[in-house]
Amino acid sequence: MASTSVIKSVPPQDLLTELRTFVAGATRAVKTNPLELARTALSLLKTLPAARDAVLEYFCTLFDSAVSKYVAQIENDANPSGGHEEATIAEIHSVLCNFVSNNPEAWAPIISTWSLELLGELSSRYAGRARVPLGAGLNESLQLWMSCRATRTLIDITTQCLSCLMHSNTETCINALLNTSVAHSPHFDWVVAHVGSCFPQTVITRVLSCGLKDFCQHGSMEQGAKSPKVLSVVGILGHLAASHIVSIRLALLDLFKWSLQPPKPGEEAQRRATVPFLLQLGSLSSILLHALSSDVLQTLNVDMLPQLAELAPGWCIYFGGRQALEDLIVHLARNCEEGGTQMLHLLLNASSPVDASKYHSNVALTSRRILELLLQELDLMLRSAGPGAYPIPLLDSIRQNVASIQPLLLSSDLLRVQIAVRLFGLLAHHSPAVLVNAVAFLLQRATKDEHLAAVMRLVTDAVCASAYSTSSLDKERGDSFKNNYLAQALEQAIRNSANNDLILDDNIGQVASEQLWLNLARMLKWEISRRPRALEAHLISDAVCACLREASELLRCPPEPAVAHAVASTLDLVDILGQNHRRLSGPKLKHMIRLTKAIVAYFFLCVSEKDWVVRLKGANVCCRLLTQLAVHSAAIRSLALRELLEGALFHAPTHLFGATTKISKDRPPEVRLLHENHKQGTSVILAHRHSSMFHAGVIGNGPYRHTSVANTIPQEDISENISLLIDVIKACCTNPTAGDQNAPNSLPTSLDAVTNVSLLLVELLSPDVMYNGLPWPEEEFSKVTVERDLSIRQRFDELPITWALLSFVASHRPALCYCSVLLRALTATLMAQWAARRSAGPSPDLCSTTVRLLELLALGQLLPPPLASLRELIPHLLPQEVVQLLRDCVWNYMRDNVPSPALFTRDASGLMWRDATLAIPGPQYTDSLRFIIQKNIKKLGYLYPQLFPDTSK
């Protein structure tokens, strides 16, 4: 034993005294002044390190009594009064803070642990007291405790410790925070919230890393059990989310990125556990899930997936197997409020990458599996919940960003199309409008059969699943519209393409609306072929019929001729009137009227088409459509006829039918009377003098000088157009009973309709409404009607189409009778013209007009046999002879034999004929003819035996 020098030193008495005083006071053995005792304790803290724990423990009791007093004051409504405790606490505060700031590394962990534990105990002990119920919110408890001096001081000390350690040793502090939080949850939450809001960035990061560490250690052992620390982490982050969501999102993102970096030794386990940890967090708190989905999800891309795939097998153990992990992922995905579309794109891109070099079989299989599971889950939820249940967040998210899903429908990859179709089917449960939009989108843009098949699937699925509530839809469209998404989609598509006629592809130059109608036509062909059984319900026809109004509009004034052609050919495929299937009510009359007008407009559009194939095709379509409509309703028929005639005569591009327009040129400049009067004189105007005479102006411009503009359309085109028009009119006049078994004698053309045409012609061509009757007056009377006659004649001269129309009428006897007034006018004017040309020679124009007129009369059987051949004579006769013939053989005959339908009789086949044997004209009508032939027997001799057969035999 080597105790070289033993100096017996007396222990410092004052220190021992202090110690004894403190122990005595702290154990309540002796009654002491608390402030004094606290001072003693503080001094011991400085001088006697061994007493540190005891001193701190004593302080605990001090704080506890302060808090209990405070609580009691609140409960008794007493005014909080600061006593010696306030001073004590203040002193303790200053001393402890001093320690911490002087030597943070050593003191901060001790003090912060102490203060946190004390806070936890106090919060738990006084929970539910001081008029703050147990279930009170965070804010109430925060308010309660922050207004208490003792706890406020403690919190202050804690935050100071943390701020000292922020850069060196935060781990210890946060660990203490978490542990305390676990022990005293939920009463301790206010502390965490307060501390967290002081150092959001650090607390969040640290809390996350502590949670991760814990998860990494326990997660694998207690399979899937939720460790209290993770719950606490979730709780704390939940509190902080209210004001620091940005920091939380950033921290989560950083954590995720960190996990993907190449691991340093010793960190593999943690990095591997990061993703499961994040998933676990997401499953425990919707706020965190939201944060994850809004940030982490955005950073994921296909390139990262193979890397994750390598880690994935290690994740399963945290959740108890692959199945559970997949379930969790699907569950989380379902609840994502954001990023739904990104997720979808990610999964799709992973399942079948556009770039084949990025294909990774494992990733692709898993992605597809998850996608499938997700869709199944959504489907199940929707079906089991029924309509009107709370919406699924993922679907909401996708719905908000639906524009980015829609292009998937057009993908060339079948998987994408299928997934998108299913997704839209799911979306339609809550908002059919999305589905309608998607179908509209697809209809406008689809170029392949697969895409149209997708349309069909979308629509048929939706019809099956629909429990569609009545919304504010157009009532007039009826029930079939409500249930037919395709109809709605079609309407939408039409509206869309009207709003912005987006060019799909510059090379092709196809307009979207044309594509739309082409697509419809293609689908209608499927429907007609009845191959897909789903189409037997005539969905597409119904849809088109529901949109007749829009279709008519497009047809009437299309943005491009091609659109009109497409619309027309689509309508051509539809059974507009719904005669062939179950639909009870056909389209409404007003739609039909619109459609009729549109078809007529379309006809004129076709006529102006340069390519004759297109022209012919369009005209054929018009014929078919008009036939259908006209047969359906007489009103439609007359409307169509009127439209056609008015159009052809006046409105449409009449020059296509050979019209020559007259323009009056050289209009004299406008003359202002005031100026004229100013020219008269500038002197003062005096009454009853010369100066009061005013210039009255010039009336008229003298005779009109018209010059007709030559029609530049080639003659063959004109005649073709005319024949097309006649065809269309004929189509309008189709007999409703034609081809009917019950009426074997019915003609293909309805005579009533043709009569209608002739009446219309009279109405349109005759400027007068009076004296348009059938009888021909005395020739003298034509002097009264000369103006009207001239006007009619002018129309005939300008519009060659009138001749064609008249000959159409004439060929359907006895309709020409009703055009009597027109014939009369023509005859009268011709007679006058021929008479005027007595001196001059015959004019070829006049001649041909006369021949035409006579041909008409003959065709219409208004002139019986010998007279019917008059036209053959005309080119060989002198004007005066022509005048005589017209007067005697035509006018007089007509005057005496009123051209009336009564003259005609119906034969067995239903045709009307005028019996020639009953209507042999008397000699007073034929003699002139006979004389004239005899006079020109040299040229016309061959006619004589035909016209005047030798009846004597």
């Binding site: 033993v6 154990t27 061994a50």
Partner: protein
């Protein structure tokens, strides 16, 4: 004298906590006090003493031997006070019995009691309680100054006096005078705690100051606790190797810092201490420094990336220390050659070369 165990407990149970502890300590001392025949206490007696300690001193167990709630910190403080009082006033006459009681109170295997011991020693230092410190010195020597228990104790003390309250360390200047035995053991332990490699494992500044002053003031302090018969050849018994290590590595890790001067002073003090101790007690020191310790230092030097100048400085110091250590035959024989080989790999240094050449020739 021979009270039955039940009677003893019964009597003790009549009093409350702080007083029963005090009473119990007296009874325990009676058990351990060498009785008339000079026989050591029987096993049965030792068991009884252990039971009494557990129930009445540390209140670890209740009367049926099951565990009880831990003492609160204030009660602990009371207990410490009682212990201090007991050791102070039990008289100097029966020091062996006191030491025996001390050893029985704080077995190294009981972590909880070791924690209390650290507090007790800390308190004893504050209150300059020499008996307790002496007893602790014996305890540490018995355990070995560089064993786990001693290191933990030293760690706690350093934290109390040099980390938490840096100024409290200044009150320790007279500790070598009060309890040289304990101080020496403490030095050895402290020298082992801090490896001196880099700033993180460097001793705190106040500790360094105090250590320097201790060694400078009392050169024999370093060997105060050197046992006559070396018990633990595997663990260091003198602080020389550890403290030299601090000084040698200092130039490599602290560039121009105030601490550098302090390290130089410590180095000087150590060298002087060696010289003086050699004169005072030649032969007693023989083999108390193990080559392994020095080899650790050399390896640290090789690992470090200090500048060449600093390295020369460090090697100079190493050579000085080595010269004295070898000269005083402090270095154990086994493993010397390994050390020399390792030192050859250091950057070339004239002094070191000289020292090596000299002692290679001898050995």
């Amino acid at each position: 004298m021979s009270i039955s165990s039940s009677d003893l407990k019964h009597a003790l149970r009549k009093t409350d906590f702080p007083f029963c502890a005090r009473e119990a300590l007296t009874r325990i001392e009676q058990i351990y006090a060498p009785n008339a025949m000079g026989r050591p206490p029987s096993n049965k007696q030792i068991d009884l003493a252990a039971e009494v300690m557990a129930e009445f001193v540390f209140c670890e167990a209740d009367r049926r031997g099951s565990r009880k709630r831990r003492l609160s910190c204030i009660q602990e403080l009371q207990l410490l006070e009682v212990l201090c009082d007991y050791f102070t006033y039990s008289g100097a006459s029966n020091e062996p019995a006191r030491n025996a009681v001390f050893m029985a109170l704080f077995p190294a295997s009981n972590a909880e009691r070791c924690r209390l011991l650290a507090k007790l020693v800390s308190m004893a230092i504050s209150t300059k309680n020499t008996p307790v410190l002496n007893a602790t010195g014996v305890w540490m020597q018995h355990l070995g100054s560089a064993t786990q228990g001693s290191l933990e104790l030293a760690q706690g003390l350093v934290k109390d006096y040099f980390v938490l309250v840096p100024r409290a360390g200044s009150g320790l200047q007279d500790l070598p005078q009060l309890a040289p035995y304990f101080t020496s053991s403490l030095l050895t332990a402290v020298a082992e705690i801090y490896t001196g490699e880099g700033p993180t494992s460097a001793p705190p500044q106040p500790l360094l100051e105090v250590v320097t002053q201790w060694v400078a003031d009392l050169p024999t302090l370093c060997i105060a606790a050197l046992p006559a018969e070396p018990l633990h050849r595997t663990s260091p018994t003198t602080p020389y190797a550890g403290l030299f290590r601090w000084c040698i590595l200092a130039p490599l890790h602290f560039h121009p810092a105030p601490a550098v001067l302090l390290y130089s002073r410590l180095h000087l003090a150590l060298l002087e201490s060696l010289l003086e101790c050699r004169q005072l007690q030649p032969g007693r020191l023989e083999g108390s420094v193990m080559p392994q310790q020095l080899m650790m230092t050399a390896r640290s030097m090789i690992r470090s990336n200090g500048s060449a100048e600093a390295m020369q400085d460090a090697i100079d110091r190493f050579a000085q220390a080595l010269q004295l250590i070898l000269d005083s035959r402090l270095l154990a024989q086994s493993g010397q050659l390994d050390l020399f080989q390792l030192l050859d790999t250091l950057p070339r240094n004239r002094l070191m070369a000289l020292v090596l050449r000299k002692h290679r020739g001898q050995s």
